[in-house]
């Protein structure tokens, strides 16, 4: 049966695994954003934190993904459920782009704007929320976009440790030497990555300060 037919026949399973995949990527990106943006703000505000924070995130990124999955497997509670493990690993990998871009975005705000804001009597928080973050938003979004695209790819490997997602099709297809199954995983994953890149890129452009 040709590929299109195969996709139609198995569309429920493909949809289900795609949603699983989106869940893994969505949750881990969200956590990475919730942790990463404050850390980025921290290291932009107090440069002494810059080296340890960015340095740690950098080290995590250099660990090969499958190896990281392997490291985390024996950890209690995390290693017991593959989806927890995958979400943790994906979050860790998403941290660096988010932190680094938050830092760059905030540092990139025109110093005259910051000085005017401070001189006007804006509190640190007001300055951050009303001036720095909105102006840094485009750059931060760019970091999130990179994180999402990385995560979509990494989440396919997560299936190797049982976390599900579109990678499961790929691994099953490899075991059965079934190309259609492999493509049933690879094509939706590629589409997901491209859509995320395109969609977030569009949003990023709209946010760019003039």
């Amino acid at each position: 049966m040709n590929l299109l037919h195969f996709f139609m026949e198995n569309r429920e399973q493909i949809l289900e695994l795609s949603l699983e995949h989106l869940w893994l990527v969505g949750i881990s990106t969200l956590i990475a954003v919730l942790i990463g943006i404050p850390l980025g703000i921290l290291s932009a505000r107090w440069p002494v934190w810059n080296r340890p924070v960015l340095g740690t995130a950098n080290i995590i990124q250099t660990i090969p993904s499958l190896a990281l999955f392997g490291f985390l497997l024996p950890v209690p509670w995390i290693g017991e459920r593959a989806d927890r493990l995958a979400i943790l690993a994906l979050t860790l990998y998403a941290l660096l782009p988010v932190i680094r871009n938050t830092y760059t975005g905030i540092r990139g705000v025109d110093p005259a704007v910051i000085e005017a804001g401070r001189g006007m009597g804006l509190t640190g928080r007001q300055l951050l929320l009303q001036v720095e973050l909105p102006l840094a938003l485009s750059v931060i979004l760019s970091g999130i976009r990179v994180a999402v695209v990385i995560s979509v790819g990494l989440a396919t490997i997560a299936a190797a440790i049982g976390a599900g997602g579109l990678g499961e099709f790929i691994f099953r297809g490899l075991a059965m030497v079934n190309n259609q199954l492999i493509l049933a995983g690879a094509i939706p994953a590629a589409i997901l990555a491209l859509s995320a890149d395109f969609g977030l890129g569009w949003l990023e452009k709209r946010m760019r300060p003039r």
Binding site: D110, A112, V113, I114, E115, A116, G117, R118, G119, M120, G121, L122, T123, Q126, Q130, V131, P134, L135, P209, R210
Partner: protein, 260 residues
């Protein structure tokens, strides 16, 4: 320039010194008083400490020694946010918020201070008129404005909450000569209408003579002289005279000062 005699100075520097964190001194033994309603010009070359002095007033910098007093209270004892909100601040690069419209830029402090929407709206209209801008400029974004227009918005923004004190750090320095002239003239007319105490930083003697009620010359972190313009150009003090000399047509300026 009228000077309103007042009992207590609005701003006072008592033996103030400022040094960088690495120890390098930028100001030493500064004693200065700014009277209510006057326009005090801090004049000097780069590195003379004039901008540092200005920033000590709204506490963007804190003195290493001595005391800065604003309206009779030591600024170290005042809540720094309240202090800054009661002082208007205009800088050379303007620093308009690029993601806000002109209106949002101007209304920021009143909005934070919780003014009613009606009051804010009226104030913005009033200010735009005051600085000579068309009302419909309110919806534009900073990047759509010329340099001169931007600085006018900067001034309007600084005046939004109606502060009694206005600090200006070489506000017209980045503009072309024609626009600068225009804005200087408008500054003078504004000063006549509003009764504010202004501290104005510049390195341009002509601007100082034109706008200031008193000129404070600074050199290498020290106050050299504080004199009204007429006395300044005739002063025998070495440094003052050198400064005047550097501006060749200094004397003519005194003669022309009347025509504003």
């Amino acid at each position: 320039m009228e000077r309103i005699p007042q009992a207590a100075p609005v701003i006072e520097f008592r033996n103030v010194a400022y040094a960088l964190p690495n120890g390098k001194p930028l100001l030493a033994e500064l004693n200065l008083q700014v009277e209510s309603g006057e326009t005090l010009v801090l004049l000097g070359r780069s590195g003379s400490g004039k901008t540092t002095t200005l920033k000590l007033i709204n506490r963007l910098l804190a003195p290493s020694a001595g005391e800065v007093r604003v309206n009779g209270t030591a600024s170290a004892q005042t809540d720094v946010i309240r202090l800054r909100r009661s002082i208007g601040y205009v800088i050379q690069d303007v620093g308009l918020f690029p993601h806000f419209t002109v209106e949002r830029n101007i209304e920021l402090v009143p909005r934070i201070e919780g003014w009613s929407a009606e009051r804010i709206h009226r104030r913005v209209e009033e200010l735009l008129q005051l600085v000579g801008l068309e009302p419909k400029i309110a919806e534009r974004y900073p990047h759509q404005l010329s340099g001169g227009q931007r600085q006018r918005v900067g001034v309007a923004r600084a005046l939004a909450a109606d502060p009694a004190i206005l600090l200006m750090d070489e506000p017209f320095g980045a503009l072309d000569a024609l626009t600068r002239d225009e804005l200087q003239r408008e500054f003078l007319s504004l000063k006549r209408r509003l009764n504010k105490t202004v501290v104005f930083v510049t390195h341009d003697l002509r601007e100082a003579l034109r706008l200031g009620s008193r000129i404070a010359l600074m050199e290498a972190g020290r106050l050299v002289a504080v004199l009204p313009p007429e006395e300044f150009v005739r002063s025998g003090d070495g440094l003052v005279a050198a400064y005047v000399q550097a501006f060749a047509d200094g004397c003519e300026l005194v003669a022309n000062r009347g025509s504003v």
